[in-house]
Symmetry: C2
Subunit: 224 residues, 2 copies
């Protein structure tokens, strides 16, 4: 597999993360770069979902991916293998990315030719929800084995996301997972959240997710 | 189901968490209370594992459980249904428990008649690993659907745990999970970690886990 760039990022020392996030979002808009922030628990399938997403959109959008992790570069290598531009961000033990760290990542990614930048955030349902990265849209994955009660326990994460992908629906028969209840719980936290069941492993639902992304990129281009 | 006590805990303002943790550990030793800190990702099966653990040890040890979550009381209700003493700790959005927060929890639990106190930490593979709670032993659960590569990505968590339970082994045939590789990765981070494959749902491996706990409680009693 290809060698990938590994960047050690430092937590931004500025307290005003929200302000930095707004500024980054405005700059990205100016440059025509749609930034997607993808969050989830560890092991819910972010990287596999991304490889499917890249496959689905490859001919249409120039994609660059930042893989954030505390350690290792296994995810960036998997993304690089798809042919997409990919770098690994090491957070130095940090449990989330803020806008300053995201900016460092985007600079390292070299986004001159990127239209869709994707940040795979640190696997964590708590801290990443508290820090605006400057993303155009926030997405999260909840996987079937985690259980349908997660919106009850991690309310903020579900409330900040524009879309929730319910992944690993292929193993639904082997788990006590109530999809209808899960949808209700998500909408309790966030009535506007779009919910898309997928199986990143088999590709099921990926076309619907790619359609959602296409529509959001188009809508964002027309936003003030 | 029984009503359970819900405690809103505040993050300790003292920076010297390690010192507080040592002090709490010494006090608990004095009182004869073994404190187990149980950590994992969201949805890896902490609560189901605990209900099985209580079943296995019910006649031998007086058990009290603190269920930490950002929101909801579903877990404490499940524990209370086993007949064990249980309280719910709400962390007010915090992603982990420190020693001061654990002390508040123990006070609320009322431990006069407790021999084995169990803290179910917030579902998170990052932050809880950074804060010593004052526990006698640290345990974690990694579930099969999360993937065997987690020790590569979340090194600190695996290095601070005395025991790693590999849960949901019943669904191994439906996931690409390499148990041998997983064990190697865990031992890379922590050569001394005990590894016990279990299925909390069916009860497989629980007796081995209960044996480990029995032996650790006995060893701890003889520690200085």
């Amino acid at each position: 597999m290809d060698e990938v760039k590994i960047i050690e990022i430092k937590q931004s020392v500025f307290a005003a993360n929200d302000k930095q996030a707004e500024q980054l979002r405005a700059e990205l808009k100016e440059k025509g770069i749609f930034l997607l922030n993808l969050m989830s628990s560890p092991g819910s399938g972010k990287t596999t979902t991304l490889t499917r997403t890249i496959e689905a959109l490859k001919g249409e959008l120039k994609i660059g991916v930042m893989e954030a992790d505390i350690d290792s570069d296994v995810d960036a290598k998997r993304i690089a293998a798809t042919g997409a531009k990919a770098i690994q961000l090491h957070t130095g033990g940090m449990c989330h990315l803020d806008a300053g760290m995201t900016r460092q990542g985007l600079e390292a990614l070299e986004t001159a030719d990127v239209e869709l930048a994707i940040l795979e955030n640190v696997g964590n349902l708590v801290c990443p929800a508290e820090f605006d990265t400057g993303a155009s849209r926030n997405a999260m994955i909840l996987s079937v084995p985690e259980g349908e009660d997660k919106p009850l326990k991690y309310p903020l994460m579900f409330s900040v996301c524009d879309v929730v992908l319910i992944n690993k629906i292929d193993v639904m028969p082997y788990f006590d997972f109530d999809l209808q209840k899960c949808k209700e719980y998500i909408h309790m936290r966030n009535p506007k959240a779009k919910i898309i069941p997928i199986c990143a492993k088999t590709g099921e639902g990926i076309e619907q997710w790619a359609d959602w992304l296409r529509a959001e990129v188009a809508a964002w281009k027309n936003e003030a």
